[in-house]
C-alpha cells in the first residue's frame, strides 16, 4: 500500500503555509488559491487560535519518558498552563497524539491503529529520542522512530526530555497549528483508513 508522504506543513489535507514574508513570493496561483479571501484567512486564524489553545492529548505512554510525562503533568511544570490540560484516554476524543517512549515492532500495529482512530485535524508529538529516531536502541526489537509508520509533527529530543523541553515542543506545535490553514468545512472525502 502506498502511504501518504509526510508533508512539512502538517497533516491537515491541502494545508498551505500562511503568513510569513518569505512565503509570499509571487507564484502562479490557481483559481482555488485566488478565492482564499480575507474572511477565510481570518477564519483560519481564529480556528487555529482556538485549536492550539485547547489541545486534547492522548498520551501513548510506553516507557521511561512516561516518568517525565508525569512530571510535566504534575504541579511543578503543569502542562495545563498551555492549554493541554487533560489527557483523553480515547483516541477518538484527542487531537494530539503524544508518543511517549520506545515503539517496538510488536507495539507498532497498536500505534498505527490508535493514529488511524483519531479524527482530523490531528497532530503527533514524538516525545523523546526513542519515539523520534529509536535512540540508542538499535536492534531487532525496536522501530527506528515512530515516524517510520505514522507522520510526526514535533520531535522533542532528550532521553528522556526534561519537562521544559516538552513545554517548548508544545509551544512549537502551537505555533505550527496557528500558522497552518484551517477550514470551517472540508469538501474532501474522508481519508481511507489504513490497514
Amino acid at each position: 500500500m502506498k502511504l501518504p508522504m509526510l508533508r512539512p506543513e502538517g497533516n491537515v489535507p491541502e494545508s498551505a503555509r500562511l503568513g510569513g514574508e518569505e512565503n509570499n513570493v509571487p507564484v502562479m496561483l490557481s483559481r482555488l488559491d485566488e478565492t482564499i479571501g480575507f474572511f477565510e484567512k481570518n477564519l483560519s486564524n481564529a480556528l487555529g487560535w482556538a485549536r492550539k489553545n485547547s489541545i486534547f492529548q492522548y498520551p501513548f505512554v510506553t516507557a521511561c519518558c512516561g516518568m517525565e510525562y508525569m512530571s510535566a503533568m504534575a504541579g511543578r511544570y503543569d502542562i495545563a498552563r498551555f492549554g493541554a490540560e487533560f489527557p483523553r484516554f480515547s483516541p477518538r476524543q484527542a487531537d494530539l497524539l503524544m508518543i511517549v517512549g520506545t515503539i517496538n515492532v510488536k507495539q507498532s500495529p497498536v500505534l498505527k491503529r490508535v493514529y488511524d482512530q483519531m479524527c482530523e485535524p490531528k497532530w503527533v508529538m514524538a516525545f523523546g529520542v526513542c519515539a523520534s529516531s529509536g535512540g540508542f536502541y538499535d536492534n531487532y526489537a525496536t522501530l527506528q522512530g515512530a515516524d517510520r509508520i505514522i507522520p510526526v509533527d514535533v520531535y522533542v529530543p532528550g532521553c528522556p526530555p526534561r519537562p521544559e523541553q516538552v513545554l517548548d515542543g508544545l509551544k512549537i506545535l502551537q505555533d505550527k497549528i496557528q500558522t497552518q490553514r484551517h477550514r470551517a468545512s472540508t469538501m474532501e472525502r474522508a481519508p481511507e483508513m489504513g490497514k
Binding site: M5, V105, S133, D138, Y140, L143, R148
Partner: protein
C-alpha cells in the same frame, strides 16, 4: 558453606559435577536429571531452595573466537550472518537455574548443557510456578524446547517472528516488521529498511565487508 551444597548434590547424584567461580557455586547435571536434582534441592531439608530466582541461558558459539573490541570498532568483528555458515561448537547452549533458599540463605546454580541438534529440556513448571514464564522467555530468545511445558509460546516477541534473537548468529539489527514503513528521504537514517538503510546508522555501514549478504542486514 555452599561447597557443602555441591557435596550434598554429588552425594545423591554422582554424575553431577561441581565448580565454583567468585563465590558462585555451580552444579552441572545431565539433562535427564534436571527435574530430579532441582526437586531434591527444593525439598531436601538441608537445601530448602524454595525460590527459583531466574532461568538464564547462554549460547557459547563465539565464546572462544570472538575478537576483542568495543562499540567503536565493532565493525571489524565477524558478522552474524557469516556465523551461520560456520561449524557449531558443541555443546552449544547452557541453561542455568539460579536457586535460592530464603530460610538457609544459600544459593546454587544448576546448569544443563545442550547440543544444538537436540535442544530439549524437561520442564520444571511442576516444581515452581514461576518457571512458567522463565521457560517461555528462554524458548522465545534461544529456542530451547521445554518438554511438558503447558503453554510454550513466545513471551516477548510476536508469533510472526522467525528465529531466536539471542542466539549469537542472529543479526543484531534484523527486524521483522509488522507494519510497512513509510518511505521518505532521511539523510541520517537512510531511505528505508534494508542494508544501508534505516537499519544501519551511517557510522556503521558495511565498510570493509566484502561478503555482505543483501538479504540480511546486520
Amino acid at each position: 558453606m555452599s561447597q557443602a551444597l555441591i557435596e550434598l548434590v554429588r552425594g545423591k547424584f554422582p554424575d553431577a559435577t561441581g565448580s565454583s567461580h567468585r563465590g558462585d557455586e555451580v552444579v552441572t547435571v545431565p539433562r535427564e536429571r534436571v527435574v530430579e536434582v532441582i526437586g531434591f534441592l527444593r525439598n531436601d531439608p538441608a537445601a530448602e531452595m524454595k525460590l527459583l530466582r531466574q532461568i538464564a541461558a547462554v549460547d557459547v558459539l563465539t565464546f572462544r573466537s570472538e575478537t576483542t573490541g568495543g562499540g567503536s570498532i565493532a565493525s571489524i568483528e565477524a558478522p552474524a550472518y557469516a556465523l551461520q555458515k560456520k561449524p557449531s561448537v558443541e555443546p552449544r547452549y547452557q541453561v542455568a537455574y539460579n536457586l535460592y533458599s530464603i530460610t538457609r540463605r544459600q544459593s546454587l546454580r544448576v546448569r544443563v548443557e545442550l547440543r544444538s541438534d537436540d535442544m530439549k529440556v524437561p520442564t520444571i513448571t511442576g516444581l515452581f510456578r514461576t518457571a512458567d514464564w522463565w521457560e517461555r522467555y528462554i524458548y522465545d530468545m534461544f529456542g530451547v524446547h521445554f518438554d511438558g511445558h503447558p503453554n510454550l509460546q513466545r513471551l516477548m516477541l510476536y508469533p510472526e517472528f522467525v528465529g531466536y534473537p539471542l542466539r549469537k548468529d542472529y543479526p543484531v539489527r534484523k527486524r521483522q516488521l509488522l507494519v510497512p514503513e513509510l518511505d521518505f528521504p532521511d539523510l541520517v537514517r537512510g531511505p528505508g529498511p534494508g542494508p544501508g538503510g534505516a537499519g544501519v546508522p551511517m557510522s556503521q555501514t558495511h565498510v570493509g565487508r566484502a561478503n555482505v549478504d543483501p538479504n540480511t542486514y546486520d
